[in-house]
């Protein structure tokens, strides 16, 4: 079977198999067998992942619940503060309002029951439903993460490929050093320096926040200001939102993008001398065709894994970067929730982050099937 007949062979490829293949005896496999199908079929694979998804979600709620209740502090005192917590009636009212007066197993049972009904509980810091608070914070993080992942993928794959193609030459050395710096610098430091240079010294970027100080946020549809402003026809607000996104997204992407460069370079180097690539070149195919159709495609499953993890990492928020850029995302919400021992909010954030990783891994696994038909066909 030649390379044109299917996916490129995997000679020397950095291979990261889907979790279902790494752990073929999980509950999903059992479901697959019960359904009378081969557990390696694509449909069975999706069923496996969905079952794992539900079980993992349950496990995460249990672990998060136990860990948050292990903290040697009283949520009522943390929320009410030093003066109000002197008032026993207020403390009692607080405990009753947030169900903290019940035994822990009962609290967990109530939490799960409410969760099944889509109720994440009330935040003790804002008195709003956690879902309401998350619905404000998550879109801010999504907007930042989307731009961040675009930059990560485009720049990372491009420079990683260039670096591999120019292996050992000056351009390769420069890209390697730059990417090494990118993965080594702490994000918060880079954020402060970037803010100082590009906002204060050069005046190229606006200050922190999602919009300029006096600009009203657009009517909420998706919570993504660029999209909502465009939907409302507020083009100046849309443009402003985009400008505010650029620097924090670039700072976040500096780390993930640098990783992507190094990973792509390594993945490309693994396949560039593979037999099928040599055959492609021997056939007289152009360099562009060889790179895009043979080399990059061979390296793609590994790159997809990293892209998925990078996106999840960007989406789950970076507290210090969000802090420096006054970005009201999930990182800031998580930080405030943790420091005020807002248990429902901490649970909500934990659940969200866990779901982000689960969902992204789920889609990455599906994408494996798309880019590598052998996975779709259940070949080993």
């Amino acid at each position: 079977m030649g390379p044109r007949d299917g996916a490129p062979p995997t000679a020397g490829r950095v291979s990261v198999a889907p979790a279902s293949r790494r752990f073929p005896h999980g509950p999903g496999a059992l479901v697959g067998r019960l359904l009378g199908r081969r557990s390696s079929s694509f449909a069975s694979f999706i069923v496996q992942r969905l079952v794992s998804f539900v079980l993992l979600t349950f496990g995460i709620t249990l672990i998060a619940f136990c860990l948050t209740h292990l903290v040697p502090a009283d949520p009522a005192v943390a929320a009410l503060g030093d003066t109000a917590s002197n008032d026993e009636a207020l403390v009692q009212a607080f405990r009753e309002r947030y169900g903290l007066d019940k035994p822990l197993p009962q609290q967990y049972g109530i939490y799960l029951w409410r969760l099944l009904h889509g109720d994440l509980g009330r935040s003790s810091q804002t008195s709003n439903s956690v879902w309401h608070d998350l619905s404000n914070a998550i879109p801010a993080s999504i907007e930042l993460a989307l731009l961040g992942i675009v930059v990560t993928v485009v720049v990372g794959i491009f420079l990683g490929t260039v670096s591999a193609i120019y292996y050992g030459r000056m351009l390769d050395q420069v890209i390697r050093v730059v990417s090494l710096v990118g993965v080594s610098l702490p994000s918060f430091w880079l954020a402060l320096v970037a803010f100082y240079i590009f906002f204060y010294k050069l005046g190229w970027v606006p200050p922190g926040g999602r919009l300029d100080a006096a600009t009203l946020s657009p009517p909420k549809v998706t919570g993504l200001y660029t999209v909502d402003a465009a939907l409302a026809g507020q083009w100046s607000t849309c443009w402003q939102a985009l400008k505010h996104l650029i620097l924090p997204a670039l700072v976040l992407a500096a780390y993930t993008g640098s990783f992507m460069v190094r990973f792509t370079r390594s993945a490309v180097l693994e396949v560039v001398n593979a037999e099928y690539v040599r055959v492609a070149r021997a056939k007289g195919l152009t360099g562009r065709t060889v790179i895009f159709t043979y080399i990059l495609r061979g390296a793609l499953p590994s790159i997809l894994t990293l892209a998925g993890l990078s996106f999840a990492s960007l989406l789950s928020g970076t507290v210090l970067v969000e802090q420096i850029f006054s970005w009201p995302g999930i990182g800031q919400y998580a930080y405030v929730s943790a420091t005020t021992l807002d248990l429902n909010a901490v649970m909500g954030v934990s659940l969200f982050i866990a779901l982000v990783y689960l969902v992204i891994n789920f889609f990455v696994d599906i994408l494996y099937g798309i880019v590598d038909p052998r996975i779709r066909l259940g070949r080993r």
């Binding site: 903290v71 040697p72 502090a73 009283d74 005192v77 943390a78 503060g81 030093d82 003066t83 109000a84 917590s85 002197n86 008032d87 207020l90 009212a93 309002r97 810091q125 804002t126 008195s127 608070d133 404000n136 914070a137 491009f158 591999a164 193609i165 120019y166 292996y167 050992g168 402060l192 803010f195 906002f199 204060y200 050069l202 005046g203 970027v205 200050p207 922190g208 926040g209 999602r210 300029d212 100080a213 006096a214 009203l216 946020s217 402003q240 400008k243 650029i246 560039v272 001398n273 690539v277 070149r281 152009t286 360099g287 562009r288 060889v290 006054s326 009201p328 800031q332 919400y333 420091t339």
Partner: protein, 534 residues
């Protein structure tokens, strides 16, 4: 690497990709250079590190929420414009009290209107105060033992279970903001005694203001900004700014924003941070109403801090000037338990002075071999850039010099606060700011007070001191003997109590040069209602 070289020969594809990337970068740069924070004139941008949980006066208990509510709502009295630490009338034109200080009467102005044009009457005041009480939100304790009632359309009575001369000052707090009762009730608000569960107006009040203050709410975006615009129907003097924007900015970048001109006001910076602020900004330093103190536990089972001689040793071992020098410009040693900006502060001449020899003698007199104490403090909480850890380390070395070993046991605020509340700390380093600018709150340090209970100093432990405290609690702010009475209380507290007042940090206010008439406010840092502009 033959293969690589052969591939790189066909690298012409790189050119269009590079062009696209360059295009993206160029667009970004154009976006950068086109960016700006042009604001309409008459807009004040306050860069503030946010701690807002809500802007509903019945739920907010944080500084930023208080600032917002002080602009959206009026109160019966105010400290705005007060020059002698006494509350002055705002919505109330006249304040009187019964001789037993258990009932206070407030006569309301008749020209006050809410932003929707509705006249403000006594029913709005009663609704707001009783809603605060029964909501059982964080600030509800301020209404403990208090009940509001109407005595006619423009007269309000507040009854207290105990003599309470602090009521006229207390009602100046932003928690006592007067809401438009009709509008709030229409949107789920209630002042009934089941408001804890029945009131659903918080989401309404987080989106809309229902007050009579100089500004109205345009938009509140949690963790991001609060945009206010001048209330055209405001009954008082027209505010200097058409629009005020409070913007969530971390302290680390506040000065840059002011220097760059994208913000006009900041209050979260330390003296060190503004030491070289430059000419683009104006820096003023004020004594603050916050103070730091050390306290020991009075329960002998908890540790040696309960020993009177150890108290004396700690008090005399501390080098207060040295500790103050850590805090920065404008900080000062606090002599007693009431900050210098409030009436009743202990004069500086009574401040404790270090005496190492006497401290060592006190340690010896205690009869305790190698006294050792654990010092707890929050390690994730900073006050205007001030770290508790730095101060704790200095205390540790100063006490070590007189033979008291101190182990530093920092922890997150949530856990150290829980230990403090449980009364299990041997030594604690804490800070406090009065809820409202009057000396009564700090009588909590007296035996049996809310604060004293946290160091296991129960009522009855010091009857002579408690009598003095009782007398102080019933002294009106306008009483000419107030200073004398509070001096006696604080001197006795210093002598008998397990507390070691350390210092008052300064409050730094940074503004753009165009902002004028910058006055310190003990509740909102800056008296925004008085601000002017060039």
């Amino acid at each position: 690497m033959q293969g690589i070289r052969s591939v790189s020969r066909g690298r012409r594809w790189l050119v269009p990709v590079a062009v696209v990337l360059a295009g993206v970068l160029a667009t970004s740069t154009a976006a950068f250079s086109a960016s700006g924070s042009k604001r309409a004139s008459g807009t004040l941008v306050w860069a503030k590190s946010f701690d807002i949980k809500s802007i509903d006066p019945g739920h907010q208990h944080e500084v930023t929420g208080g600032i917002v509510d002080s602009l959206l709502y009026d109160t019966l009295t105010t400290f705005s414009g007060s020059t002698d630490g006494q509350p002055v009338p705002l919505v109330a034109s006249k304040v009187s009290s019964s001789t037993d200080l258990k009932t206070f009467f407030f006569t309301l102005r008749k020209n006050v209107k809410f932003s929707d044009g509705t006249p403000l009457t006594s029913k709005d005041v009663v609704f707001s105060f009783m809603r605060l009480k029964y909501l059982q939100g964080v600030p509800a304790y301020e209404m403990n033992g208090l009940y509001a009632y109407a005595k006619g359309p423009y007269r309000v009575g507040i009854k207290s279970d105990t003599p309470n001369p602090g009521v006229p000052a207390l009602v100046a707090s932003s928690y006592f903001s007067i809401l438009n009762s009709a509008a709030v009730q229409k949107n789920g608000g209630t002042s009934a005694n089941n408001a804890n569960t029945a009131d659903t107006a918080q989401s309404y009040l987080d989106k809309t203001s229902a007050g009579s203050g100089p500004y109205t709410l345009v938009q509140y975006t949690p963790q991001a900004s609060v945009i206010l615009k001048a209330n055209p129907k405001y009954w008082g003097p027209k505010p200097a700014y058409d629009q005020i924007v409070l913007k969530n900015v971390p302290a680390s970048t506040q000065l840059l924003e002011l220097q760059k001109g994208t913000a006009n006001l900041a209050v979260d910076l330390s003296p060190d941070q503004v030491a070289n602020a430059g000419k683009n900004v104006k820096v003023t330093t004020h004594a603050s109403s916050t103070f730091f103190f050390l306290e020991g536990n009075m329960n002998p089972a908890i540790g040696t801090a309960a020993n009177k001689n150890i108290h004396k040793a700690i008090r005399l071992a501390l080098d207060y000037k040295n500790i103050v020098s850590l805090v920065g410009t404008g900080a000062s040693q606090i002599a007693g338990f009431i900050p210098s900006v409030l009436p009743g502060a202990l004069p500086a001449k009574y401040a404790t002075v270090q005496d190492v020899a006497k401290a060592k003698a006190a340690v010896a007199a205690s009869g305790i071999q190698n006294p050792t104490l654990n010092l707890e403090y929050p390690n994730d909480f900073f006050l205007n850039g001030l770290s508790f850890g730095t101060i704790a380390q200095r205390i540790q070395s100063q006490l070590q010099a007189v033979g008291i070993t101190v182990n530093l046991t920092p922890g997150p605020l949530a856990t150290t606060l829980a230990n403090w509340r449980a009364g299990t700390e041997q030594l604690g380093l804490w800070t406090t700011t009065p809820d409202y600018p009057a000396p009564y709150v700090n009588l909590d340090f007296c035996p049996g007070g809310n604060h004293a209970l946290r160091v296991k100093w129960a009522a009855g432990a010091d009857p002579a001191l408690e009598t003095l405290c009782e007398k102080a609690a019933q002294t009106k702010l306008t009483d000419p003997n107030l200073s004398k009475i509070y001096t006696a209380v604080q001197r006795k507290l210093l002598a008998d109590g397990p507390y070691f007042p350390l210092f008052q940090p300064s409050q730094v206010i940074v503004t753009s040069p165009s902002v004028t008439n910058v006055k310190y406010s003990p509740t909102t840092f800056v008296d925004v209602r008085l601000l002017g502009k060039k």
